[in-house]
C-alpha cells in the first residue's frame, strides 16, 4: 500500500499536534524538524514524478507539476520555520506576544503547511478547492496573529475577499463539472483532474469559457492578480514576516497551481482563450504592481506588490504557452519563491532592528547591520531581475518565449513595466542603505536569522548562474507536457 502522499500530509499535521503539546519553547524546533521532514519525505516521490512516474492512488494525484510546487512549499516551509524561531523570540522580548502565542503560531504554521501541501497532491478539483479554502481559513489566523487593530483589519479583508474569490472559483468548478456531465455522467471521479483532462477536448466550449472566467477571477483573487489583489498588501504587511514569506512564496503558488490545472483543461477545449485571459491579467498585474511599487513607503507592502508583479510575469509566461515560455514561468516560480523569501527575511531583520516598516525612516543600514544589508541588497538586485541571480534567468526566458512566439508587444510591455518596478524598488531599498543610522537600533542576532537567508541567497545565486541537467530536464518535461508538445 502506498502511503507516500499520506506521509507528507501527516507529518505537518503531527507536527501541529506535537507543537500543541510540546514543552515550552520547543514548538519552534518541532516546526523546523517537521517541515524538514516533509521536504525530505517528499523528495523521492517528486523525483519519481519528474522522471515521469505519476503517483496516483486513492484521492491523490502527484505529477511533475505538483512535485515542483510541493518542493517549493517544503523548502520555503523549512526556511520560514527556521527564521520564525528567532523572529518570534524577538517579538516576545519586545513584549508584543506571549508564550502561548508562540505555541499557537506553530500550530497554525504546521496546519498552514499541511493545507498548502494538500492543494498540490489531491486529484479532485473539488477537494483542491476545499484545500485552498482551508489555507485561507488557517492563514487568516496567522495574518491576524499580532491582534493589533491593523492586523485584524488585514485578516478580515483577507478572509472576506478571498472567501468571495474562492466562492466564484467554485462557481467555475461547478461549470466545468457541468460541462463534463454529458461525457462523464455521474461518474464519482468526474471532478478528478486526470479524468477531466483526458476528456477535455470533448467538453462544452461555451461552458468552459465561462468557467475559466470564474476560475481565473476566483483563484486569481487568491493568487493576487489585479484587480483582485487588494487583500494582498494588507495581509503581507501585517502578518509576521516569516508568514509573509510563506504567503508570498508558497500560498500564491498554490492558487497559481489551481489555475494552471484549469488552464490546461481550458486550453484543450478552447485553444487560446484561457491564455489570452492569463496574458491580460498578467500584464495588468505587472503594470499596477509597478505603479504601487513606485509609491510605496512601507517595505513589506512594497514586497507584497512585488509578489503581485512576479505573479503577473509568471501568469504571462504560462499565458504565452510556448514550451520556452512555460519553462521560463516554471523556473520563475522557483526563482521568485526563493528570492522573495530572502528579501522578506532580510526586511524582517530591518523591521525588527529599526522598529519600523517605513522605508523613509530607515537610514544607514549598511553601517548598522552589514550582514542584513548585504542580504537585502543582494535580494533586491535579485528580485528586480539583475544577474547573476535566478529571477533574471526566469524573466529573460519568459521574454524570450514572448519574442519567440512573435508577441513583440507583450515583450515590450513586460520590459517597460519591469523598468518601472526596477526603478521604484532600487530607489527605495538603496536609499535605506545610505546615510547615518539614527536612533536606537537593535540588530537581530543569531545563526537561525542568517542561516536561512544565506541558504536562499546561495540558491538564488546558483540557479541564476547554473542549471543542473536534472533540473533542466525536469522543467522541460513539465513544460513540454504542459503545452502538449509531447
Amino acid at each position: 500500500m502506498m502511503i507516500d502522499v499520506e506521509i507528507i500530509l501527516l507529518i505537518p499535521a503531527a507536527a501541529a499536534l506535537l507543537s500543541a503539546v510540546s514543552p515550552k519553547g520547543r514548538a519552534a524546533s518541532v516546526s523546523v524538524i517537521g517541515s524538514a521532514a516533509v521536504l525530505i519525505a517528499s523528495i523521492p516521490m517528486c523525483i519519481r514524478a519528474f522522471e515521469g512516474t505519476v503517483t496516483e492512488y486513492g484521492m491523490w494525484y502527484v505529477d511533475g507539476l505538483s512535485s515542483l510546487f510541493i518542493l517549493i512549499i517544503g523548502m520555503i516551509g523549512v526556511m520560514s520555520a527556521m527564521y520564525s524561531r528567532g523572529y518570534l523570540l524577538r517579538d516576545k522580548e519586545e513584549g508584543e506576544i506571549g508564550t502561548g502565542d508562540i505555541r499557537q503560531y506553530h500550530i497554525m504554521f504546521n496546519l498552514f503547511l499541511a493545507t498548502m501541501l494538500s492543494v498540490c497532491v489531491v486529484s479532485s478539483v473539488g477537494v483542491m478547492w476545499i484545500a485552498i479554502e482551508m489555507t485561507t481559513l488557517v492563514s487568516a489566523f496567522l495574518v491576524g496573529f499580532y491582534r493589533r487593530n491593523s492586523a485584524l483589519e488585514a485578516a478580515w479583508k483577507y478572509l472576506m475577499i478571498c472567501s468571495v474569490g474562492i466562492t466564484l472559483g467554485l462557481v467555475g468548478i461547478t461549470l466545468v463539472y457541468a460541462s463534463s456531465s454529458h461525457i462523464l455522467g455521474d461518474d464519482p471521479g468526474a471532478l478528478n483532474w486526470p479524468i477531466l483532462f483526458e476528456a477535455a477536448s470533448g467538453l462544452d466550449p461555451v461552458l468552459i469559457k465561462m468557467a475559466f472566467v470564474f476560475i481565473i477571477i476566483g483563484f486569481g483573487t487568491k493568487m493576487g492578480l489585479v484587480p483582485m489583489h487588494t487583500w494582498l498588501p494588507d495581509a503581507h504587511s501585517q502578518s509576521p514576516t516569516p508568514i509573509s514569506a510563506m504567503l508570498s512564496a508558497a500560498l500564491l503558488n498554490c492558487a497559481l497551481y489551481a489555475i494552471l490545472r484549469f488552464q490546461m483543461i481550458a486550453e484543450a477545449t478552447v485553444p487560446g482563450f484561457a491564455s489570452a485571459l492569463m496574458i491580460g491579467f498578467g500584464i495588468l498585474s505587472l503594470a499596477v504592481a509597478g505603479a504601487f511599487i513606485l509609491i510605496s513607503k512601507d517595505i513589506k507592502r512594497m514586497l507584497a506588490y512585488s509578489s503581485i508583479e512576479h505573479m503577473g510575469i509568471i501568469t504571462i509566461g504560462f499565458g504565452i504557452g510556448t514550451p520556452l515560455a512555460v519553462f521560463g514561468a516554471l523556473f520563475h516560480i522557483i526563482a521568485h519563491s526563493v528570492t522573495k523569501s530572502l528579501v522578506f527575511f532580510s526586511a524582517g531583520n530591518v523591521i525588527q532592528g529599526y522598529g519600523t516598516r517605513d522605508m523613509d525612516s530607515v537610514r544607514g543600514l549598511g553601517k548598522s547591520m552589514p550582514g542584513t544589508a548585504f542580504m537585502l541588497g543582494a535580494g533586491t538586485l535579485a528580485i528586480v531581475g539583475l544577474p547573476p541571480f535566478s529571477v533574471f534567468v526566469g524573466e529573460i526566458t519568459i521574454l524570450s518565449g514572448a519574442i519567440g512566439a512573435g508577441m513583440y508587444h507583450i515583450a515590450l510591455l513586460i520590459a517597460a513595466f519591469i523598468v518601472l518596478v526596477f526603478a521604484g524598488f532600487t530607489r527605495n531599498i538603496f536609499s535605506m542603505m545610505r546615510g547615518e543610522p539614527s536612533g536606537k537600533i537593535k540588530a537581530p542576532r543569531g545563526i537561525l536569522r542568517m542561516l536561512p537567508m544565506t541558504v536562499l541567497f546561495l540558491i538564488t545565486l546558483f540557479l541564476g548562474l547554473f542549471m543542473p541537467e536534472q533540473m533542466s530536464d525536469a522543467l522541460w518535461s513539465i513544460a513540454d507536457w504542459f503545452t502538449g508538445a509531447v
Binding site: 472576506m160 487588494t230 509597478g290 539583475l386 515590450l412 520590459a415 536609499s431 547554473f466 533542466s472
Partner: protein
C-alpha cells in the same frame, strides 16, 4: 590549439580576480589592496591575450557547468583579443594608480567590485554564448553601480535605472536575434539579418544602438553621466568611461555587423542613427564647454568621443547601402580604433584630474590653477592626454579621427551620401574643435596660470602614481606612431568578425598618405632644431610678474573659466538654455551678483515631465487601494461582470 594552455590562460586571467572579489569582502584592513593586487594580476594576464592569440590562434573555453541557456563558453579571436589586451592594460594602469595613491587606501568592498567589473567586462568582450554575454553585460552595469554609489546615491540610482533600460533593450535585441537563430553560440551567428528580414533587423539594430547608447551617453540617455562622473570615485569613472565603453562598443560592433549583418535598404536607419549620434557629439561638446567641474568636462567629452564612434558605425551601415565594402571596413576600423585610443587617453586624463583633485582638495575648476608649476610631471602627462584628446598629431587621438575624416571624404560619390557625408565631416570638425576648446580650457585653467585659491596644495598622492600615468602617456604616443600597424590588425579583425566582403581598396585609405613615424619625426626634429638654434644666441632670460597695467594681480584678476567659454556660449546661446541669476552679494552692500546657471534641457524638458507623469499615474493607481473592503469587492464584481459580458458577446 593548445587546449591545456587555453585553460591555464583563462584561469590565470579570471581566477585571481574572482579570488580578489571574495577577498575584498573580508573585513580586514589590507583586504582592499590585496584584492586590487589580485585583480592587477588578472589584468596582467589579460594583456597577454593578444600576443597569445598571435602565437596560437583563437582561445576558446567552455565552463563545465551549464546554465539554463546552454553552456558558458568564451572565444577570444582577433578583435576581442586586441580589446582585451588593451582594456587589461588600461585596467592595470588604473589599478596601479589606485594602489600607489597614498591618499586612497583601497576599501575592501570597492576593490572587490573592481574585481567584479574586470571579470564582467572581459567576459562581455569574449562571451560566446548569449546567456554569458547578457549576464556579463548586466554585471558590468551592476558592478559599476556598486562602485559608484558612494557620495551621490541619486546619481548612481539614475545610472542604474537608465542602464537597466538599456540592458533590457540589449536583451530584447539579442532575444529577437536568438529567436531567428535558435543557436546559443554566438560564433555561429552570422548574417541573421537575412532570416530576420529588414524590419526586424532594423529594429534590432536600433534597439542595440539605444541599448548600448545608454552606457555610451547617447542623447537622451546621457543624463546620468555628468552626475555620476562628478560623484563617483576617480577610478570608477576611469574604468567606467574606458573599459566598459570598450566592451559596449565591441559588442555593439559584433552584433550589428557580425551577427545581424547590414544589408542594403538600411539607408533610413543609418541616417537616423547618424543624426542621433551627430547630435550627441555636438551637444555634448557644447555642454562640456560650460561645466565647472573637471570631471563633468570629462564626462561630456567621453560622450562626445563615443558619439563619434557611433557616428562611424552608422556611416558603416550607410556604406553598406552604397556597396562599398572597402570604405565600410575603413570607417569601422576608425570607430574601433577611436574607442581603443579613447580608453587610453581618457583614463590617463581622468587619473590626472583625480590626482589633481586629491592634491588641491577642490573639485571646481574655478578654484584651481597653476598646478603645472607645483606638479610639473603631472602636468606633462596631462598635457599628453589633452593633446591626444584634442586629436593633435602625433598622438593616438589624431590617428583615429584622421581615419574617420579620411573615410568620410573617401566616401563621397557613393549612392545617396552626397549631402550626408559632408554634414558628418562638419559635425566631426565642429565637435572635435569644441572638444579641443574644452580640453584647452580644462588644462589651461587647472594647470596653467596662477592659483585661484589660497589653499595649500599638498602632494599627498605621491610620485609612484606617475608610473602608470607615464605608461599610459607612452601608450598614447606609441598608438599614434604605430597607428598604421594597428589599423591593419583591426581591419583583419573586422574582416574576421563580420561578413563584409574583403576588398583591398581599404588598404589605400588605411595608411595611404599618412606616415606617422616620419611626420612625427620631422615635427620633433623641427622643434628640436628651433630650440637648439635659438639657444645658440645664448641670451639671458629673466623672470618678472605678469604685465598688469600697474596694479598688483590678485587671484580674482585672472580670466575665469566661465569667461573663457563665454564667446561660444553667446554664439550658441539658443542651444544652452542658460539663465542669468541675480542675487544679492552679501559681502558688499548694494551689489548684485550675476551668475549663469546652465540647466540640462533634457532633464528639465524630458525626464522631469515624464517622471512626473509616471508618478502622477502611479498615485492615481495608488488611490484605488483606498482601504475600503467594499470598494475592493466592487472591483471583483466589476471585473466579473465585464469579463462575463465580454465572453458572451466577443
Amino acid at each position: 590549439m593548445f587546449s591545456v594552455y587555453e585553460e591555464l590562460f583563462i584561469s590565470l586571467m579570471f581566477i585571481p580576480a574572482a579570488a580578489g572579489a571574495i577577498v575584498g569582502m573580508i573585513p580586514i584592513k589590507c583586504s582592499g589592496n590585496v584584492a586590487a593586487f589580485l585583480c592587477g594580476t588578472s589584468a596582467f594576464f589579460g594583456i597577454l591575450s593578444y600576443p597569445l592569440y598571435l602565437y596560437g590562434g583563437d582561445i576558446a573555453f567552455t565552463f563545465p557547468l551549464p546554465s539554463a541557456w546552454g553552456p558558458y563558453s568564451i572565444l577570444i579571436d582577433e578583435l576581442p583579443a586586441m580589446m582585451i589586451s588593451l582594456s587589461s592594460a588600461v585596467f592595470l594602469a588604473v589599478l596601479a594608480h589606485m594602489i600607489f595613491s597614498v591618499s586612497v587606501s583601497a576599501e575592501g568592498r570597492y576593490s572587490s567590485t573592481i574585481c567584479a567589473l574586470f571579470i564582467s567586462c572581459m567576459l562581455a568582450m569574449c562571451a560566446d554564448t548569449v546567456i554569458l554575454l547578457l549576464i556579463a553585460w548586466e554585471a558590468v552595469t551592476l558592478s559599476t553601480f556598486l562602485m559608484a554609489s558612494g557620495k551621490n546615491g541619486a546619481a548612481a540610482w539614475k545610472f542604474l535605472v537608465i542602464a537597466h533600460i538599456g540592458g533590457l533593450m540589449v536583451i530584447c535585441a539579442f532575444l529577437v536575434m536568438l529567436s531567428y537563430s535558435g543557436d546559443h553560440t554566438l560564433s555561429s551567428w552570422s548574417d541573421l539579418g537575412n532570416a530576420m528580414g529588414l524590419p526586424a533587423s532594423c529594429g534590432a539594430i536600433a534597439l542595440l544602438f539605444m541599448g548600448f547608447g545608454t552606457k555610451l551617453g547617447l542623447i537622451p540617455f546621457h543624463v546620468w553621466i555628468p552626475d555620476l562622473y562628478a560623484s563617483a570615485p576617480t577610478h570608477t569613472s576611469a574604468l567606467m568611461s574606458t573599459v566598459s565603453s570598450n566592451a559596449a562598443v565591441m559588442i555593439l560592433f559584433k552584433s550589428i555587423f557580425g551577427y545581424i549583418g547590414v544589408s542594403e535598404g538600411m539607408y533610413v536607419l543609418a541616417v537616423i542613427l547618424m543624426a542621433a549620434s551627430s547630435f550627441t557629439a555636438v551637444w555634448s561638446a557644447l555642454e562640456s564647454l560650460v561645466q565647472t567641474e573637471p570631471k563633468r568636462i570629462l564626462a561630456y567629452s567621453g560622450m562626445e568621443n563615443m558619439a563619434l564612434v557611433l557616428l562611424c558605425f552608422s556611416i558603416g551601415i550607410l556604406f553598406s547601402d552604397g556597396g562599398s565594402p572597402g570604405l565600410m571596413t575603413v570607417v569601422l576600423v576608425a570607430g574601433l580604433f577611436h574607442v581603443m585610443n579613447h580608453s587610453v587617453f581618457k583614463s590617463l586624463m581622468i587619473l590626472a584630474v583625480g590626482s589633481a583633485e586629491d592634491c588641491t582638495g577642490e573639485t571646481a575648476i574655478e578654484k584651481m590653477g597653476g598646478l603645472a608649476k607645483i606638479m610639473p610631471a603631472f602636468s606633462l602627462v596631462a598635457l599628453v592626454a589633452v593633446l591626444s584628446m584634442a586629436a593633435i598629431p602625433p598622438f593616438n587621438g589624431f590617428a583615429s579621427e584622421w581615419l574617420m575624416i579620411q573615410s568620410m571624404m573617401g566616401g563621397e560619390g557613393i549612392h545617396m551620401t552626397e549631402i550626408i557625408l559632408p554634414l558628418g565631416v562638419a559635425v566631426l570638425g565642429i565637435s572635435g574643435m569644441m572638444a579641443a576648446v574644452s580640453y584647452a580650457r580644462l588644462y589651461g585653467f587647472m594647470f596653467l596660470g596662477r592659483p585661484r585659491s589660497e589653499k595649500p596644495v599638498s602632494s599627498k598622492v605621491g610620485t609612484a602614481v606617475l608610473v602608470p600615468m607615464a605608461a599610459l602617456a607612452l601608450l598614447c604616443f606609441a598608438m599614434g606612431i604605430f597607428c598604421s600597424q594597428i589599423m591593419e590588425k583591426l581591419a583583419r579583425g573586422v574582416a574576421a568578425a563580420t561578413s563584409i566582403p574583403s576588398d583591398d581598396s581599404f588598404v589605400n585609405h588605411l595608411s595611404g598618405t599618412l606616415n606617422m613615424p616620419i611626420m612625427a619625426g620631422i615635427l620633433l626634429m623641427a622643434i628640436f632644431a628651433a630650440y637648439v638654434l635659438s639657444r645658440a644666441f645664448r641670451k639671458k632670460s629673466a623672470r618678472s610678474p605678469t604685465w598688469d597695467c600697474g596694479t598688483p594681480l590678485d587671484e580674482n584678476m585672472q580670466y575665469s573659466s566661465m569667461g573663457f567659454s563665454q564667446p561660444l556660449v553667446r554664439v550658441f546661446h539658443p542651444l544652452y538654455g542658460d539663465v542669468v541669476e541675480i542675487s544679492d552679494d552679501e559681502s558688499s552692500e548694494n551689489r548684485k551678483r550675476y551668475s549663469i546657471k546652465f540647466a540640462e534641457p533634457f532633464v528639465e524638458h524630458l525626464y522631469v515631465p515624464i517622471g512626473n507623469l509616471i508618478m502622477r499615474g502611479a498615485r492615481r493607481v495608488g488611490s484605488t487601494q483606498n482601504g475600503n473592503i467594499q470598494t475592493y469587492l466592487g472591483y471583483i464584481l466589476a471585473v466579473l461582470v465585464v469579463l462575463l459580458v465580454a465572453v458572451r458577446f466577443v
